[in-house]
């Protein structure tokens, strides 16, 4: 397959994938704190990659990515001790995918600012529906004692990060990806030259929901505690968008760089000057958007990121 060939030829990507896989040694080498940091990094990489798969490629900026993550977490939490985890975590992904498929047809009819705000509103709507369901069955929060160890969860999350990265890479190199960027540029023209716009948008949207669904499940297990407002927190969506844009979403390396950079920043600052860490993050973000609008990837690999724009 040419796509696979592409991956094997892409040395930078291979290095990334290897380093993702190498994180399995973090717990043994650096202890459990760094294992959690690694777990978080993998989580953000997975989420940001999957966001890029749809929003990065089509230009439909979704501010509601958290809804898939939340629904996955909900599936795992509500079937905890009922279904084995190897069933419930993938099930979380499937349910997220189905949710995406169901809402895709109406939602993808609107564009631009309307889409941005619609996705946000939809995520909030689902949040309140789940909240109501939970209260009506008398389960306002759930404890998940007896979840797997951090190490196990880290391994699963590394797997998800690798899959998410590969998925985004494969899509971006394929005819499918070419169609998606045509949609980003001008949807009507894309349609006119034969790009099956509706089918492509729905497929990409659905694909981009599956990984977050599983990530949400794993994170719920990590917290050993599930509360609706916590897993549907819109800040998660904002963070994903931030990472994607800081990293540069023209290429699979962007999301990785974005996630790693923000996490690094937070590790550097929250431990040393916690009081003003958030203010610093804010200032950093501004500097970035103003002076490096195409993200870190564009600074590190200027030529490649431009032709992938």
């Amino acid at each position: 397959m040419t796509a696979l060939n592409g991956i094997l030829k892409d040395r930078v990507l291979l290095i990334f994938l290897t380093s993702l896989v190498l994180t399995v040694f973090v717990p043994d080498l650096f202890g459990s704190y760094w294992a959690i940091v690694a777990l978080n990094l993998m989580m953000w990489v997975s989420l940001t990659q999957s966001w890029t798969l749809f929003s990065g490629m089509t230009g439909y900026i979704s501010l509601g990515h958290v809804v898939f993550y939340g629904i996955g977490a909900y599936v795992v939490a509500s079937t905890f001790k009922v279904l084995p985890l190897w069933v419930s975590i993938p099930l979380g992904g499937v349910v997220a995918g189905v949710l995406a498929l169901l809402v895709a047809i109406p939602v993808l009819r609107v564009r631009g600012p309307y889409f941005v705000i619609l996705t946000f509103g939809l995520a909030e709507l689902v949040k309140y529906i789940v909240l109501n369901v939970e209260t009506s069955i008398g389960k306002s929060s759930r404890l998940l004692f007896g979840a797997p160890t951090i190490e196990t969860l880290l391994y699963i999350m590394i797997g998800l990060a690798v899959i998410a990265t590969l998925m985004t890479k494969l899509v971006s190199q394929s005819r499918f990806g070419r169609g998606l960027s045509a949609i980003r540029d001008d949807e009507i023209t894309a349609e006119t030259v034969g790009v099956p716009v509706v089918k492509y948008k729905i497929t990409a949207f659905t694909l981009s929901a599956v990984i977050p669904g599983m990530v949400g499940g794993v994170i719920a297990l990590k917290s050993t505690y599930f509360e609706v407002l916590q897993v549907f927190n819109p800040v998660i969506s904002f963070t994903v968008v931030t990472m994607a844009i800081i990293g540069g979403s023209g290429d699979v390396r962007g999301p990785f760089m974005g996630a790693a950079f923000l996490l690094l920043l937070s590790e550097l600052f929250w431990a040393t000057i916690p009081q003003i860490y958030m203010i610093l993050v804010g200032l950093f973000l501004i500097v970035f958007v103003v002076f490096a609008p195409n993200g870190i990837a564009a600074i590190l690999w200027p030529a490649r990121s431009r032709d992938s724009q």
Partner: protein, 295 residues
């Protein structure tokens, strides 16, 4: 249910609705004219609320009297942000979608910074003060003076803005500017003047809304986000950049919120509001009061 006919509900719906309209108006001016996704809008409201709180606590200055001052502070903040960050974006970044995505991040940053600066300076503890809280009974409605004041100020301000937009070419220029900046320049619209005006007026109105809200709610550095959401819901319902539509939608939302609780259950309040919002976006993306474009 005769509950529905209660003038008390009507009064509350009016107060809530006009507050929403005011909260959204400022956002509409900034987002509507420049496509800047100002998710820090709620934080400006918070700044207005804190300004009112401190004026009142330190000098006993009534927030109502202090309104011009508070408006000035927030307008100043708007000017600083415009010249420090956003002018550059508006002039040098293409296309519009790009500005929009960037502004989302920039305002996210502004929001984080403003919240934390306020939290650092005044601590995260919630605060409140008592002002104009005597209850009046009029036509079978009991109302606290501060809510009457909020209603009066909001309605006055909303009408003033509508009048201003109707009378001047500002309103038309705004609509033109949103759609096509080059064409706006061609017909002789002073683009930067409109942008500066939108920034200052938009921010000032947010500050005023915050001051009004501070009289009836407790305030904290992190109170802003729900207002940001409300503002977005309202301006989408009204049609982006459609100032009058936004005002109507704000009022509508206030009524929906109050009467939904009575008709169904308070529990469904958020579901219904977001449901309405999502539904309108799907069925009439140009907003309830926008004009259709058959494409």
């Amino acid at each position: 249910m005769d509950l529905l006919l209660s003038p008390q509900l009507l009064f509350s719906a009016l107060v809530l609705g006009s507050t929403y309209a005011l909260v959204a108006l400022g956002l509409n001016l900034v987002y509507g004219t420049m496509r800047l996704l100002n998710i820090a809008h709620g934080d400006l409201i918070m700044v207005g609320a804190y300004a009112a709180f401190w004026f009142f606590t330190l000098s006993g200055l009534s927030p109502i009297i202090g309104l011009p001052l508070i408006a000035l502070i927030c307008a100043g903040l708007g000017l600083i942000l415009y010249f420090a960050i956003f002018r550059h974006q508006l002039e040098n970044v293409h296309p519009v979608e790009r500005i929009e995505a960037n502004s989302l991040l920039l305002f996210f940053a502004v929001s984080v910074i403003v919240q934390n600066v306020v939290a650092l300076s005044f601590s995260g503890s919630p605060r409140a003060y008592r002002h104009l809280d005597e209850v009046y009974h009029l036509l079978g409605v009991s109302m606290t003076a501060n809510r009457i004041a909020a209603l009066v100020v909001a309605v006055t301000l909303l009408s003033a803005v509508v009048l201003f937009l109707n009378r001047s070419h500002y309103g038309l220029s705004i609509s033109a500017l949103i759609q096509n900046k080059t064409a706006a320049k061609i017909v002789g619209i002073n683009v930067s003047k409109i942008q500066i005006l939108s920034f200052t007026i938009g921010f000032a109105i947010a500050g005023v809304a915050g001051a009004l809200i501070s009289m009836t709610e407790q305030i904290s550095p992190f109170m802003g986000f729900p207002f940001t959401i409300v503002a977005f819901v309202v301006i989408i319902l009204g049609g982006l950049g459609n100032i009058k539509g936004g005002i109507a939608a704000g009022l509508l939302l206030g009524f929906v919120e109050i009467y939904v609780v009575v008709l169904t259950s308070a529990n469904f309040r958020s579901i219904l509001i977001y449901g309405l919002f999502v539904g309108v976006l799907l069925l009439r993306p140009q907003g309830l009061f926008g004009k259709t474009r058959a494409s």
